[in-house]
C-alpha cells in the first residue's frame, strides 16, 4: 500500500522515478494488485495524474482535476525517436520561447540520451533485467517560477559502471568519471570516433541564458552550471540507473 496523502510537494525528477519504478515493478509482477492512497495536495495529484500514474491503480478514480497553469509532457520508449523529441519541444513552445541554438542543443541532448540507453545503459551484465530497456522523459514547465525542467531516466547499470567495465578504469571515483565524460567526451568504448554523446547534454545549458545540468548515476551526482566548475557529490543511497535533469530559468513571457 502506497500512502501518498501526506505529500505536499513533488519534483519532476521524483515523479519520473516513481513512475518508472512502478512500471518496472508492474513489468515483472503485473498480476499482483497494487494499492494506493492518492495525495491530497491538488498540485501533486495533478502531476501524478498527468503522467498516467493512477493507471496502475484501477481502484482509484481521479475526478474534478483542478486547472493548472503548469505544463507537463512525458514519453516512455526504448528507441531513439527524433520526431517525438521535436514534437515535445514544439509543445513547450506554446508556453516558452526557445532560441534557435537552444532548440537545436535540446534536440541533440535528448537524442544523445536516448541513444546512450540503446548502446550502453542496459549491458549484458545486467542479467535478468537485460530485456527491460526503457527510458523515460518528462518535460515540465512551472508557471510560478518560470522554470522549465527536462528529466531523462533509465534504469540501467549507470555511467560509472559502463565506463569502468569497458575501459577498465577501476580506481577513479564515479563523479570523476562522469565529469570527464561530460567535459572532455571520454568514451566508454574507448573508440576514437566515440564519446560525443555526453558533452552534447551540457551544450543545452551552455547555450541557455541560465540553467543547470545534473547527472545522477549510482552513488555519484554531478551538477554543471553555466560558467562554474562541476559540483560533485557522493550519495549515501545509490540510484539504479541514470537520471539526467536540465533546469532552465526563463523570464516572464
Amino acid at each position: 500500500m502506497l500512502d501518498q496523502r501526506p505529500l505536499k510537494r513533488i519534483s519532476p525528477d521524483a515523479v519520473l522515478m516513481l513512475m518508472a519504478e512502478l512500471a518496472f515493478y508492474h513489468f515483472f509482477d503485473w498480476r499482483k494488485q497494487k494499492l494506493c492512497q492518492p495525495p491530497e495536495d491538488p498540485a501533486v495529484l495533478w502531476m501524478l495524474n498527468q503522467v498516467g500514474y493512477f493507471a496502475y491503480f484501477p481502484q482509484i478514480r481521479v475526478t474534478g482535476m483542478p486547472q493548472s497553469r503548469n505544463f507537463l509532457f512525458h514519453l516512455r520508449d526504448r528507441h531513439t525517436h527524433g520526431k517525438k523529441v521535436w514534437q515535445m519541444i514544439e509543445h513547450f513552445e506554446n508556453r516558452v520561447t526557445f532560441q534557435q541554438e537552444e532548440r537545436q542543443a535540446l534536440y541533440d541532448a535528448l537524442i544523445e540520451s536516448m541513444d546512450n540507453v540503446g548502446q550502453h545503459a542496459y549491458g549484458r551484465r545486467f542479467g535478468w533485467r537485460y530485456h527491460y530497456r526503457d527510458w523515460w522523459l518528462l518535460g515540465y514547465f512551472d508557471d510560478t517560477n518560470h522554470e522549465i525542467s527536462f528529466v531523462f531516466l533509465d534504469q540501467g547499470v549507470g555511467i560509472p559502471a559502463t565506463i569502468r567495465a569497458n575501459i577498465g578504469d577501476q580506481f577513479r571515483s564515479g563523479t570523476d568519471l562522469i565529469t570527464e565524460a561530460v567535459l572532455t567526451g571520454k568514451s566508454s568504448t574507448g573508440g576514437l570516433n566515440r564519446g560525443n554523446g555526453l558533452p552534447s547534454l551540457k551544450t543545452f545549458v551552455d547555450r541557455a541564458y541560465n540553467g543547470t545540468l545534473q547527472i545522477t548515476s549510482d552513488q555519484s551526482r554531478c551538477t554543471f552550471s553555466k560558467g562554474t566548475g562541476p559540483e560533485k557529490r557522493t550519495l549515501r543511497i545509490p540510484l539504479h540507473g541514470t537520471l539526467i535533469t536540465w533546469k532552465i530559468q526563463f523570464g516572464p513571457q
Partner: protein, 109 residues
C-alpha cells in the same frame, strides 16, 4: 572523348528525414547508420559527385554525424569523401561536422 560527371542531388529533409536520430539502426529510425548504408554510400558508389542539401533539418546530433560521415571516411578515405560530397547548408548555426572533423584529424594526422 568527353565524359560527363555523374551528379546526384540528395535533399536530406525530403529524401531521408527532417528529424535525424542516433547512431545505430537497431536503436531507432533515421539513424546515421541507416543514412550511410541506404542513401549516401549507394549514391557515392554510382555517381561521381553527390550534392547533399542539408537545409530544413532540425539538427544533427553528434552521434548521427559520426556514424554517417566518420565511418564513411574510415571506409572510403578522407580524400574521396571530400572530393565526392558537396554540402549545401544555409544555417551556419547547425553544429554539423564538428565531431566528424575532430575524428578525422585524430585518425589521419
Amino acid at each position: 572523348m568527353i565524359c560527363a560527371m555523374r551528379e546526384k542531388r540528395i535533399n536530406f529533409a525530403r529524401d531521408f528525414t527532417k528529424f535525424p536520430g542516433g547512431r545505430a539502426r537497431i536503436h531507432g529510425d533515421h539513424s546515421g547508420e541507416e543514412f550511410r548504408e541506404d542513401v549516401l554510400k549507394p549514391a557515392l558508389d554510382s555517381h561521381d559527385v553527390v550534392i547533399l542539401n542539408l537545409n530544413g533539418v532540425v539538427s544533427f546530433p553528434a552521434s548521427f554525424v559520426d556514424e554517417a560521415f566518420g565511418i564513411l571516411v574510415e571506409e572510403l578515405g578522407l580524400d574521396r569523401v571530400k572530393n565526392q560530397i558537396q554540402f549545401v547548408l544555409d544555417d551556419i548555426r547547425l553544429p554539423f561536422g564538428r565531431s566528424s572533423w575532430r575524428w578525422k584529424h585524430t585518425r589521419h594526422s
